[in-house]
Symmetry: C2
Subunit: 216 residues, 2 copies
């Protein structure tokens, strides 16, 4: 897992770890647009050290968020193991949205690094979620016209909360999610057709203009 760390000198390994910790902290607090210099300063190292360990800012971001993404994946797989498909479905959305609301950099990092992830992994996760959706529909608790793309929709909408203070964002996210889940479950009205808001589409834009100021 950490072949890179094992051949590092011990002090270097410590620095690397501290940098990563600080990066996660700052990204969560302030979003991805914190300057590399700020991370370096807070970690008590020079900028060069950052760039020695992570060739680019994007690489640092990717490394800083792999943990969170792994959590997301685990959340989905756990949900599949749940005998109650609706509870599984609901939990996935709740947990992922909570993660997103808690960490200001989450959405942008997701957009910036997800395309890089081995597409096997992406497809697998996506497939699992599809499975979950199907089961929940079969159980009759999820509306039949729910589309898996609606997950992306939820993510994007919930991502709009980045930018309000975290405590507020969490509460707001919970209320938003509650509203949406209610529609997903009890809904009977006709909806506009599901939007093929595929992840790929959202991600494709590279950096997304106004929205995800991760530079490039």
């Amino acid at each position: 897992m950490n072949a890179s760390q094992s051949q590092l000198r011990t002090d270097a390994a410590e620095n690397r770890a501290r940098v990563l910790a600080v990066a996660r902290e700052l990204f969560a607090e302030r979003g991805l647009d914190v300057p590399m210099a700020a991370i370096a300063r807070r970690a008590g190292v020079g900028v060069a050290t950052l760039y020695r360990r992570f060739p680019t800012k994007e690489a640092l971001v990717a490394e800083a968020f792999t943990e969170q993404f792994a959590v997301c994946q685990a959340v989905i797989e756990d949900a599949l193991a749940d005998p109650d498909p609706w509870r599984g479905f609901r939990t996935v959305i709740e947990k992922v949205c909570l993660l997103q609301a808690t960490d200001r950099g989450f959405t942008a990092a997701f957009v910036a690094t997800f395309p890089e992830m081995r597409s096997k992994v992406r497809e697998h996760t996506w497939h699992c979620f599809g499975e979950l959706v199907d089961r929940a529909k079969a159980g009759g608790q999820l509306r039949a016209d729910f589309s898996p793309h609606d997950l992306t929709l939820v993510l994007v909408a919930n991502g709009g909360l980045a930018g309000v203070p975290v405590e507020v964002a969490v509460a707001a996210s919970q209320r938003l999610v509650a509203y949406l889940l209610e529609s997903f479950r009890t809904g009977t009205d006709e909806l506009p057709p599901p939007v093929p808001l595929s992840l790929d589409l959202v991600l494709s834009q590279g950096r997304l203009g106004t929205h995800f100021p991760m530079k490039a």
Copy 2:
């Protein structure tokens, strides 16, 4: 209304108008972070001309969006005139969200300039919406625990769509809004308490970190 324009030389007035048009276009397409130089180039003028007419980028943004904000206000007031309070309520949300989805700069401009608006106007608009909410509740079509702050929640969530290509954003926004309206109307489940996501709170942060890259 245009005391400023009337004493402009005719060529200058034309330039001013063209700049404004181009600004609206680019802000809508790419968000507020288009460089002033880009606007100048596309308008066929030099940067100095921009700064001669608009002391600062923020001023240009404000001017470019006053129209849209006036529309929003009109939408709310029209809705109050509607005899069917639920239809009024629904229409407000639909129209405002459509506006927002159509224009990439909308959300950021709103955040950047709304605090500047004469607070009389803000309060009035806000008051009107509250009225609308009360009526819709009295009519029994809007769930009793809907909070006017939920409007902000909708705006923020829908604002998350800035950053996807416009056509997609519009369709996605429509579906999102449909989901939410369904909850607002038919909802019966208990929700987490309404979040005091007041406009002021959202706006207070000055520039909102990752999310609203309007510089300052």
